[in-house]
């Protein structure tokens, strides 16, 4: 009886603690949202008010007019979707090869891929920029897509997954006379669907929120991605906070939609644990 009472007490306390912390995590976003609903003169009024006196969507209308969000969304979407599809295919095939074939040079390649996690683009921005120039990829969306296709994380996710697939499955397909390409596309890729979806979601988020590549590759505002468009507000001498706050919220919307649609896959911890490298 006593222990049951204790349990109940512990449950109340821990739940309360959990939600206090959760609210602390939530608050910055809520504050951004509340502030974005304030008209410009209320934003900097003193003393500060938590809730807007005259909530208004003017800030949103203003940023929708000033920033060409549709254009930025489309650009970012093109980059994110194309890269994601190519990343999944490239990582799956590469992971499959690394898991199921045993050649010395493949092992060497595995180590090379490991090295890329250590020397990400951020570290070698200057020479990478020269490469982009040489390949004629400067100021093109292709310049964002192509370099981002290869990801060590994706390759390792698939490699780990395919290692768990029994070799007998492959052998029997081979005996049936299927060639390796057919085995991969018709047998292996379909059974790796959970990994593919997880990687696709991650890849999409990486590309949607990517900053470094667009920063060094793009110059034409017609090709701006959402993040670079935001940078043009944050970097200004006089930050236009009304514009910045509502634009930040707008930039979140697509990711939130993705999250709502794919929540099941994202929060399914079984799949994410596959990320273990």
């Amino acid at each position: 009886m006593n222990s049951k009472l204790n349990d109940k007490f512990a449950t109340t306390m821990l739940t309360a603690a959990l939600f206090i912390i959760a609210l602390m995590y939530l608050f910055p976003i809520v504050w951004l949202l509340l502030s974005s609903l304030k008209p410009g003169n209320e934003l900097f009024s003193y003393p500060l008010k938590i809730f807007p006196d005259n909530p208004t969507l003017d800030g949103y209308a203003y940023s929708w007019q000033t920033m060409e969000f549709i254009k930025y969304f489309i650009n970012t979407l093109i980059v994110a979707v194309v890269t994601t599809v190519l990343t999944v295919l490239a990582s799956a095939s590469c992971g499959f090869a690394l898991a199921k074939y045993n050649y010395k040079w493949l092992n060497a390649f595995l180590i090379c891929m490991l090295a890329t996690t250590m020397l990400p683009t951020e570290v070698i921005m200057n020479p990478t920029f020269s490469v982009i120039l040489n390949l004629n990829l400067y100021d093109s969306l292709a310049g964002l897509v192509i370099p981002s296709i290869s990801t060590a994380t994706g390759i390792f996710m698939f490699r780990q997954y395919f290692m768990t697939v029994p070799n007998d499955l492959l052998e029997s397909a081979r005996i049936d006379g299927a060639n390796e390409g057919k085995i991969f596309f018709q047998l292996m890729l379909p059974i790796a669907k959970p990994v593919a979806i997880t990687l696709a979601i991650f890849s999409f988020q990486w590309r949607w929120n990517d900053y470094i590549w667009p920063l060094i590759v793009l110059s034409d505002p017609n090709k701006y991605t959402v993040q670079i468009a935001l940078r043009s507000i944050v970097g200004a001498d006089n930050i236009d906070w009304v514009l910045l706050l509502s634009s930040s919220i707008i930039s979140l919307v697509p990711m939130i939609i993705i999250f709502i649609v794919f929540q099941r896959y994202i929060m399914d911890t079984g799949a994410t644990s596959g990320i273990k490298g």
């Binding site: 200004a236 001498d237 236009d240």
Partner: protein
């Protein structure tokens, strides 16, 4: 699963098509021969890189639209952050895809030999070439607008505190008097700070000149400065005590303009480009332009933007036509009126719609200023173009470190000297 794969591939194709479509549609001018400007075809847009146009009432955007209406040539005004401008254009140049036009305040040595010679255009339109940048007898960067450093006060706060401020050139205050005045204002009102100054070397230089500094100049084979510079910088550090001036503006990039606009700062040392914005956007209190305090000599600092056209954009001729059009008396007057610029052509007569009295103060300041202000800035900007390596705002950067207690003022001055010597003297 097959179905899923099919959908994926379909999406891939659709996006690739869209991708290549958008690329060919908006490429920034590497097709060799651009379109005839007069033909009114939808042709390639000319890109005009500027920063801060939105704040200045979108004057250039308006003019670009007008130009499109008149000639059919489309111009896209691209607003990029001030800090990113030089980097961005340098990158575009390395990629051999420079924009057609840009309005800039600084240069990079990599631009050398890639700027269009605009001597004829400037001459034809009475542009004051001495305010521009001339390299090897070519006027590569004529001035587009003239700005000057100046002081704004929050009139309401001054009146509430019962503090006087100079209303004519006869009773201009010294820095001592000015600081006393703003201290009284903060004491007697709920003002948070006495003054703010933009985080900018350009504003700081005006402050230095007023204290008798000669800035940083070449002497023999090195850069040096006079004693007054160090003393004035010392004073500047003392003013940044979080009571008179908030330190965060310089050290942490807090926005001076919006602090002043919030109505809780007594004075704001900025410049003429703010007038049109203030006239429109400050509604909660009355503001006023006042004469700047001085110690030794009266001085403002002239500034403003240069207009450049780039070789290799594939649209050189159209760019030149536009520049010519923009400097024509009638158009230029419209631009200056709209953007609140002080004119750079000898014949322009600008009637400011907003706060004309503020502009008069600036005209007085410019007339009374020590000549050092206009010479030195131009010389240093020119150095950025013709030297091996461009220095950004060395003085500002070193002073930020000094304000942040990372180094002493003397050390900051030494660093500025040695960096300038290293970069500008071979």
């Amino acid at each position: 699963m097959k179905k899923l794969l099919f959908i994926l591939i379909a999406i891939l194709f659709a996006t690739l098509v869209a991708c290549s479509g958008s690329e060919s549609g908006s490429g920034s001018g590497d097709s060799a021969e651009g379109n005839d400007s007069g033909s009114g075809s939808s042709g390639e847009k000319m890109q005009f890189y500027v920063s801060g146009d939105k704040v200045e009432g979108a004057a250039l955007t308006t003019m670009a639209e007008k130009y499109t209406e008149e000639t059919g040539t489309e111009i896209e005004v691209v607003d990029v952050p001030y800090d990113d401008m030089v980097t961005k254009i340098t990158n575009m140049m390395r990629a051999e895809e420079p924009p057609a036009l840009a309005r800039i305040t600084g240069f990079n040595p990599a631009w050398q030999g890639k700027l269009m010679d605009l001597t004829d255009v400037a001459e034809a339109n009475n542009v004051r070439a001495e305010m521009g940048i001339t390299v090897e007898d070519e006027l590569v960067a004529p001035p587009l607008d003239l700005t000057a450093v100046g002081m704004f006060i929050n009139k309401d706060l001054f009146e509430e505190a019962g503090v006087e401020y100079p209303t004519s050139e006869d009773n201009i205050w010294t820095w001592e008097e000015f600081v006393n005045a703003i201290e009284t204002v903060t004491k007697n009102t709920d003002a948070q700070y006495g003054m703010v100054m933009d985080n900018s070397e350009h504003r700081l230089n005006a402050f230095l000149y007023q204290h008798g500094s000669k800035g940083f100049y070449q002497e023999g084979d090195e850069y040096t400065t006079n004693e007054e510079t160090t003393e004035a910088l010392q004073r500047f550090v003392e003013l940044n005590d979080n009571t008179i001036m908030p330190k965060a503006v310089w050290t942490a990039g807090e926005d001076a303009s919006s602090m002043f606009k919030s109505g809780r700062v007594a004075a704001y040392m900025s410049g003429s480009w703010q007038i049109s914005d203030f006239a429109t956007n400050i509604t909660d209190f009355e503001w006023q332009s006042v004469y700047m305090p001085y110690e030794e000599v009266r001085a403002t600092n002239l500034g403003g933007n240069y207009l450049v056209g780039f070789e290799g954009s594939g649209q050189e001729e159209q760019a030149k036509e536009f520049i010519d059009w923009l400097y024509q008396k009638e158009n230029y007057e419209e631009l200056a009126t709209h953007g609140g610029y002080l004119p750079v052509t000898t014949d322009a007569e600008v009637e400011y719609e907003k706060a004309p009295e503020a502009y008069e103060i600036y005209q007085d300041e410019i007339a009374a200023t020590d000549p050092i202000a206009s010479q030195q800035r131009n010389e240093l900007v020119r150095k950025q173009l013709v030297s091996q390596r461009a220095l950004g705002s060395v003085l500002a950067e070193e002073m930020i470190n000094a304000l942040n207690d990372e180094q002493a003022v003397e050390q900051a001055v030494e660093n500025v000297k040695s960096q300038m010597t290293e970069a500008y003297i071979e």
